[in-house]
Symmetry: D2
Subunit: 207 residues, 4 copies
């Protein structure tokens, strides 16, 4: 699978995404990050962790199972506490609220992929798309604000460690044999859900 | 599970749904049904059939497996040809186009439910919600137009046979033991996706 | 996928299978078919139907979904009644008894394949192996006994219709792209479970 | 769920299991542990890890997801190296060989449970049964041999840490609402597969 091509074919999405208007707003007003805390907490807790577990459970033992298990473990033990910490720092975000339809849709899309398609084209491509997008979004923000919450977040998702993790995902996808057209479809749909997620944060409350 | 309560708790959704502004538009201009043909074709072909198969594959053999298998078979052999027929009658709708994000989201939500939750609260409640909503929507339209396509569609989804099928789904849900609160959550989320589906048909093209 | 090669590589299994000593015994004493009625009823009702539904739910809509749905529907409406009929003709077999470990294992193996591997190598190859083996077993028996129950059964599983179904499965597997080695592994394991199933019918009661 | 009752109802299995004849043989001749190394390595690598991942991916985020993820992570990082170490200490066991039908059956049974039933009755009960049995088997062996490999193994699976893990699984099952009869069926079937696994180690080579 040619990941450069997957990324290149979605320039129209990246143009709307890096930077996303919501990120621009957040730089000017870090308090506007509050809906993101709720939505991304649900995305990770209720969605991404399950998605990665489902993916790992279908990975060949000799293949990427250990890598995916290790990554899920890190997500659960390192990223989930970040949301709790940032929620506190922003004066308390009610994490018990229902997530938006955009978040529920994105989470459903990823988890359906992980169980319906085979390991290759399904989750692996989508996981790379999702994490690559996250890396781009937060790298853009890096250095643009001295607000401790934004520094905290961008230093996590644009760190060397996170970058290496995204590169490892890219290698996993690169090493896969299969139909580039199917992979391109999954990649693009994931990008569109990522964009929908950020659009919904910027728009009126959709709860 | 108390289905009257499930329906009663979602009066706010039904108020926006029966009739939905898109249905009102369709009565005045049957040609505006064209995006619906594309989206519902994908919903049924790429989504509902898989969802019902996944649900049936997890149903106890002594329980609802036969009913769900029979219903899926009817969906595939009776409803799919309706979309092809109506597409022709409306001058040809390109069914090869990608469905909207609303459709992909709804389909993902249902299929994720079918594999992630247990049989009871997952798909069964969602399937009832979805079909009940469809029955209400098309029953409203019934008799409001003499346009052959609308007569064809409303006569199918408000037929005695379809009504009996929806009642059978209701009995299945009624007969289930379990936590009403979880069921209510699934029912409400399904209603919101149904509404999102119709809203997207009425809005600007979201492809 | 080269199905001739898949079949050819398992000559050692077929040598023990066509005819299987249990089948030889059944020709001499049709009453010894009673444990088979129980086990195969459970295999079909509790196992093969779910397996095929799970497989169909993951098939591409443009691909084999309709064929698999149609085949499952026929299995449920045509084969299940055969077991009830034969149970009656053999003086009543208690179909409520627990199936043997061999049957539970075989059913688990198939269903796990259907959800864990991708569509191609998982269920499709296994389904072909299973049905091909059944066709061989009953074709051997065909004409060897005038006992009405054996005539009934062999006329079903060695009929032209069943033969065409098995050929259609073969074409499905032939048309698949993918790693022959993985397919060979799945094919062989399915053959071994098929053999285990027949061995268990011939051996001491394993309940 | 009453776990004392689940255990008590299977006294006939435990009587054949603690001690299992294979364990008695191993105490007298530690080298006879070699087939176990192969089979249990496959059971854990190809089976139990996937099973627990699939289970975790369906656990409610507020519930047992973190516990199951943590346990799977420990299994992969702590237990898998034990097999490699013991294989070396026993003069090298070819871990690339195919596992026996008993192992493939057990692994299939667990993984099918994890995806086919709901979280409660499916995997959770089976996981408890499996780990409880393992704890009993190795606790029996503890102190019966000074052979370093047996000391290594029994000190792991009868350690305080492993005991606490099994107790935590028991609490998880105890806290579950649901039909005791279904749970009893799953528990018993798991016990039978555990017994089959040990029987196969003691018998003639079934490869």
């Amino acid at each position: 699978m040619d990941t450069e091509r997957l990324i290149g074919e979605n320039r129209d999405v990246w143009a709307r995404f890096v930077p996303h208007p919501y990120m621009v707003k957040v730089v000017g007003d870090p308090g506007s990050l509050r809906p993101w805390v709720l939505e991304d907490y649900h995305f990770v807790r209720g969605g991404a962790i399950r998605f990665m577990l489902a993916l790992a459970s279908r990975a060949p033992p000799e293949g990427h199972l250990d890598f995916l298990l290790e990554s899920t473990h890190r997500l659960a033990t390192m990223e989930v506490p970040i949301f709790l910490e940032v929620s506190r720092d922003l004066g308390g975000v009610d994490l018990g609220r229902e997530p938006s339809m955009a978040t529920v849709s994105y989470v459903s899309f990823l988890n359906h992929l992980a169980t319906s398609m085979d390991f290759v084209y399904g989750g692996a491509v989508a996981l790379f798309a999702e994490e690559w997008a996250y890396y781009q979004a937060w790298k853009w923000l890096s250095g643009k604000s001295q607000h401790p919450v934004l520094v905290r977040l961008s230093s996590h998702w644009s760190s060397r460690e996170f970058c290496e993790y995204v590169e490892r995902l890219r290698e996993m996808v690169e090493g896969m044999q299969g139909d580039q057209k199917t992979a391109a479809g999954v990649f693009r749909e994931t990008c569109r859900f990522e964009l929908l997620f950020w659009d919904s944060l910027n728009g009126p409350d959709t709860h």
